[in-house]
């Protein structure tokens, strides 16, 4: 007979010619006639899409994107993986990042590095402005638009530039995975965090040097990791790589200029 859940099979047909009762009669008098998950089951039973066993690929394409389960593969990293990828981003000339993340690109790193960077830039630039005003004995009010602008710049850069690059590469028939590009750009922003911390030093030249080094490292990281791949795009590959490089450099300059150049007395940042 069929056995379902925790029921015992009804082997002997005492009831001749009739369908086996469901729920079985021994369940009467106890409310627990309905199947419940075993008491040591975890909370995944209560969630709609608990991972690979979910109906991700089977249901319609756009509906599956609304479940958590369809994004879980992009967060399948451990602490040690993330730390290793961050360390890789600090040494651009090895150019091994894309190989390492080709099979397991993650979105955890990009998102949280970006968010941390937004907060760090807003905080340090506020601190720098506060110090500058204090030394000149001027009043200073915290400008909350620093936070919103830095969020806009960084989130916008990390989401839109890889998207543009993805489309361009597709056009030049050298397609690269979009998530890999997001991963690469996200990790490339990591170097701006220590650079922002160093920008506390009130020497203007030092700040420009720090911004330049950070921008150069970050741009080299992105460009070198994509170079081998883009070379297959045809004669225009150098243009694309150079474009990527200078775009990243421009980001560093904009950040330095908007957040870390303080003019006291005029309408403060």
């Amino acid at each position: 007979m069929m056995s379902s859940g925790g029921y015992t099979t009804i082997d002997d047909q005492k009831i001749s010619g009739s369908v086996p009762t469901f729920p079985p009669s021994e369940a009467q008098g106890k409310i627990s006639g309905v199947f419940r998950p075993p008491p040591d089951a975890d909370d995944t039973f209560s969630k709609p899409a608990p991972g690979s066993s979910s109906d991700g690929p089977q249901t319609g394409g756009w509906m599956s994107r609304l479940t958590i389960g369809s994004y879980k593969p992009y967060f399948d990293v451990d602490t040690s993986d993330v730390l290793e990828r961050i360390k890789d981003s600090l040494f651009p000339f090895k150019a091994t990042f894309t190989e390492k993340t080709a099979n397991n690109p993650d979105l955890y790193g990009p998102f949280w590095i970006c968010t941390t960077l937004i907060f760090v830039v807003a905080a340090i630039s506020a601190f720098v402005a506060y110090l500058a005003h204090k030394w000149q004995k001027k009043a200073w009010d915290y400008d909350i638009s620093l936070v919103t602008w830095s969020a806009g710049i960084f989130y916008g850069y990390v989401s839109l530039v890889p998207l543009g690059l993805y489309l361009i590469l597709k056009y030049f028939s050298a397609p690269s995975g979009l998530v890999q590009l997001w991963c690469l750009y996200g990790y490339s922003l990591f170097i701006f965090i220590p650079a922002s911390c160093l920008s506390v030093v009130p020497v203007e030249v030092f700040r420009w040097v720090v911004a330049g080094v950070a921008g150069f490292t970050s741009a080299a990281f992105v460009a070198l990791n994509l170079r081998t791949h883009i070379m297959s795009a045809g004669e225009r590959w150098f243009l694309i790589v150079a474009g990527i490089f200078f775009l990243q450099l421009a980001l560093a300059v904009v950040v330095k200029f908007y957040f870390f150049t303080i003019t006291v007395g005029a309408s403060s940042s």
Binding site: D43, F45, T79, S80, W112, F119, A123, D141, D143, I144
Partner: protein
């Protein structure tokens, strides 16, 4: 439906089930049984109690009237009615009262729940190591109140762009709680979405207190000290819950964003003067 929880049954829930059994057995034997609400507190978790008061109030007069007229020859309808009664709401004897009770009673009940949750989450108590027990009776009123209060305090303290400050604070806290919960879920952790939102909201209480102190005392050193202390306190409150939810190799990945959010809120408190 409430029995879809996979957390081990709370003591009161087990007694609910026994109570239901007793009711059904009793109704089969004799006339109406009095239904004692197992918890004189809130209506059942995660169910929509809207229909049950009406259902209960419609059926209960009949159930009470029927058995004197018809002897236990009609146990099935009566038991069905009882089953429907108690299935609709565990403490259905209390449900009609929650509609007709004085407003102060409702407010007092919610306030006492907020305070008891606060004591469980934020202050040291023996239940902290077991996240399942710690916030069994979660609610969202407490977190809502704390977030709004923090936004308002920051907005009051700000000298320029007050409404923007409130908007940023509220957005960061609300979206932050949702994103942090999603982060844990995406990393393969096991938490209940709203329970986690509730917990992250309750852990804001120390920062609320810090914000009020900073609003009153505008000295930079005091602000720094107060905010650091309340920051550590908030993080300590949230730590066991989050760390129990994910596997050991990803604990730092799940905890770091929590610290980041509280540090950024702390920074906002210091910076806004």
């Amino acid at each position: 439906m409430p029995y879809g929880d996979t957390i081990p049954l709370h003591a009161s829930s087990q007694s609910d089930i026994d109570e239901i059994e007793n009711l059904i057995n009793a109704s089969i034997q004799s006339g109406p049984a009095t239904v004692h609400p197992t918890r004189p507190l809130s209506p059942p978790r995660a169910s929509i109690p809207v229909s049950s008061p009406f259902v209960a109030s419609e059926i209960s007069p009949q159930a009470y009237q029927k058995p004197p007229l018809v002897p236990p020859g009609v146990p099935p309808p009566a038991s069905a009615a009882h089953r429907q009664n108690v299935g609709g709401g565990v403490g259905f004897g209390a449900s009609p009262n929650t509609l007709t009770e004085p407003v102060w009673d409702t407010v007092k009940r919610d306030l006492s729940r907020i305070i008891s949750n606060l004591k469980l989450v934020v202050f040291p108590n023996p239940n902290r190591e077991d996240p399942g027990k710690a916030l069994r009776d979660w609610d969202l009123w407490g977190p809502f109140f704390f977030i709004i209060f923090l936004g308002l305090t920051l907005s009051w303290s700000a000298s320029v762009k007050k409404s923007e400050v409130f908007a940023v604070a509220f957005a960061v806290l609300a979206a932050g709680a949702v994103i942090l919960t999603l982060n844990v879920l995406l990393l393969g952790g096991h938490i209940i979405f709203f329970q986690s939102l509730s917990l992250l909201g309750y852990c804001l209480f120390p920062l609320d207190a810090g914000a009020v102190i900073c609003m009153l005392k505008n000295n930079a050193i005091i602000k720094l000290v107060v905010v650091s202390i309340t920051l550590v306190w908030s993080s300590w409150a949230a730590y066991p819950f989050i760390s129990a939810a994910v596997g050991p190799r990803r604990k730092a990945l799940a905890l770091y964003p929590v610290f980041l959010m509280y540090i950024s809120v702390g920074f906002l408190i210091i910076a806004i003067d």
